[in-house]
């Protein structure tokens, strides 16, 4: 039996401290759903303690839940494969191209979808077979195109200059590249995303198809579209799928050729809440079944014969990875703004959480609090006025060194982050046995300076 000293008794008698709070009670400001208050603590992610993760890997820290990725993938796979016989997912590298993340998707059966030479090399190095790396994007160099031709990768042509250059390269290499054209269209969502590919309504798409097939240098195997991002209207995909099917059937009628696949791109909304939204994204954004129903119904009803249905490719990125990503951070300080609002400064800023410009991210404390809360502004640590994580969030009275968990940060943050003012943090993946693995090291000064070159005459100075 352990002995208890008088000192221990004294400490035990003390009450748990919480910062004193006073909050004006306002009437008439809440909507019918009330103000959302985030005081339910998230102390563990996949049974791993947040406190221990931060102690082991430092703060801030990105955490990826492998279990969530695999579960989300199974959910989207079920939504489409129960409705359509031939479905293929291609992991969107730009959404999160950390190799460990990509490989979870590849293990689940995803091909790769890339939009630059750098991403293309990553996919090939990860071991994705060349013919399963879809090459999108408006900027493909001769070197990129040559590699894609040699690897037999599907090249999605974005503009006529690319079409002409690809035709020249095919002749030079004596190869017949597999290509698709990117098609943009009016889907009832405005402004129309008409910058990628060739327009459906004004005939550009047909012009490109005619040029490819009549020149007979490239093998037109697919049609691709990318109608928008964070789409909240599944019906737009239905319209797009209908127009893509119409093109495919038109090619069949005109040239007696079957299009092997229709690639509907990405853009499905995740469960994040867009800034200015009335409802929480988790409650209001469409689910995979709604997107799947709209797309597959349009293709199945378009008029393809039983054995002529094209492969349906989906490049969904955001909706597959957002919920698997968490950002853990620590409170640096609290202060009052001139108007009396509480401001809390976190150790992570917009430089590593780019999506805070778009979303009101859900943020949870990582430790227990009472149910008293306070409206506050959450700032990052950057010496820049734009570094605002949340303009207005209701949180318990966080104090210095308290820890928080930011939810749904898996998409785009680990690719659009920058080492502006502070360096990029480590990334950890928690495997399905709840074991954390470091998948990207915390940056150091040498990570940045290894690319710098100092002219000799500037190497020394005297002050």
């Amino acid at each position: 039996m352990s002995s208890v000293s008088p000192c221990d008794i004294y400490i035990m008698k003390k009450l748990q401290y919480e910062r004193p709070l006073i909050q004006r009670l306002n009437t008439g400001l809440m909507n019918k759903f009330g103000m959302r208050t985030e005081y339910a603590p998230v102390s563990h992610i996949d049974d791993v303690s947040v406190k221990k993760l931060l102690a082991d890997f430092g703060s801030p820290l990105f955490v990826i839940s492998e279990k969530t990725i695999r579960n989300t993938y199974k959910e989207v796979n079920r939504a489409f494969k129960t409705r359509y016989p031939k479905v293929q997912f291609a992991w969107s590298y730009k959404t999160n191209y950390i190799n460990a993340v990509c490989n979870v998707f590849h293990q689940e059966g995803s091909w790769g979808e890339v939009v630059s030479g750098f991403e293309y090399q990553k996919a090939i190095q990860n071991g994705v077979p060349g013919n399963k790396v879809i090459f999108n994007g408006p900027d493909k160099t001769d070197e990129d195109l040559t590699a894609a031709i040699k690897n037999n990768s599907p090249i999605h042509i974005d503009h006529l200059d690319e079409l002409y250059r690809l035709t020249e390269l095919a002749e030079e290499l004596k190869a017949r590249p597999n290509v698709a054209i990117r098609v943009n269209m009016d889907t009832g969502i405005y402004p129309i995303w008409d910058r990628f590919g060739f327009n459906y309504e004004n005939g550009q798409a047909w012009d490109a198809i005619n040029k490819i097939i009549l020149a007979d240098k490239l093998e037109l195997i697919g049609l691709h579209c990318h109608i928008g991002t964070f789409m909240l209207s599944p019906s737009a995909y239905g319209i797009a799928a209908g127009k893509m099917s119409d093109l495919a059937l038109g090619i069949k009628r005109k040239f007696k050729r079957d299009i092997q696949y229709i690639d509907m791109g990405g853009g499905f909304a995740s469960k994040n809440t867009l800034k200015g939204s009335y409802l929480q994204g988790a409650d209001s954004n469409p689910n995979f079944d709604q997107f799947a129903e709209a797309i597959t119904t349009a293709i199945l009803n378009a008029g393809f014969g039983k054995d002529e249905l094209p492969l349906l490719i989906l490049e969904t990125g955001r909706a597959l990875i957002d919920e698997a990503g968490f950002l853990l951070g620590t409170v640096i300080s609290n202060k009052r703004l001139s108007d009396g609002r509480r401001a809390t400064i976190m150790d992570f800023g917009v430089n590593i959480m780019f999506t805070s410009f778009w979303y009101d991210h859900k943020i949870s404390p990582a430790q227990e609090f009472s149910n008293y809360t306070e409206d506050c502004v959450l700032y990052g640590p950057l010496c820049m006025n734009i570094d605002v994580i949340r303009e207005n969030v209701t949180l318990p009275p966080l104090k210095k060194d308290d820890q928080v968990v930011v939810h749904n940060v898996g998409a785009y943050n680990m690719t659009q982050w920058m080492q502006f003012i502070s360096l990029r943090p480590a990334v950890v993946m928690i495997d399905i046995q709840s074991k954390p693995h470091l998948i990207r090291k915390r940056e150091t000064l040498s990570s940045i300076e290894s690319s710098e070159v100092m002219p000799e005459y500037l190497a020394k100075f005297k002050l």
Partner: protein, 83 residues
């Protein structure tokens, strides 16, 4: 600083200013401080009480007490000449 005499405090942390009609809510420790301020207890004595009663440190008490009393001023719960 002095809390206005007519400010009403409930046991559950509801604060009412009859002069303006404004109402506020405070957490238990905030209510404790408000009561002591209303009883004109010296600030140093209140801070010592907090330090003795709660598992915290002097810096946190100093910082949070300053912040809380500034908020009381800003919310017009203190006497106008109290500075």
């Amino acid at each position: 600083m002095k809390i206005k005499k007519n400010i009403a405090l409930s046991d559950t942390g509801f604060v009412f200013n009859p002069s303006t009609g404004d109402s506020f809510s405070v957490n238990p420790i905030g209510l404790e401080i408000l009561r002591k301020l209303k009883d004109n207890e010296p600030h140093e004595k209140i801070k010592k009480h907090l330090l003795d009663s709660y598992s915290t440190d002097a810096d946190s008490v100093e910082k949070d007490f300053y912040d809380f009393t500034k908020m009381l001023e800003q919310l017009q719960l203190t006497e106008a000449d109290a500075k």
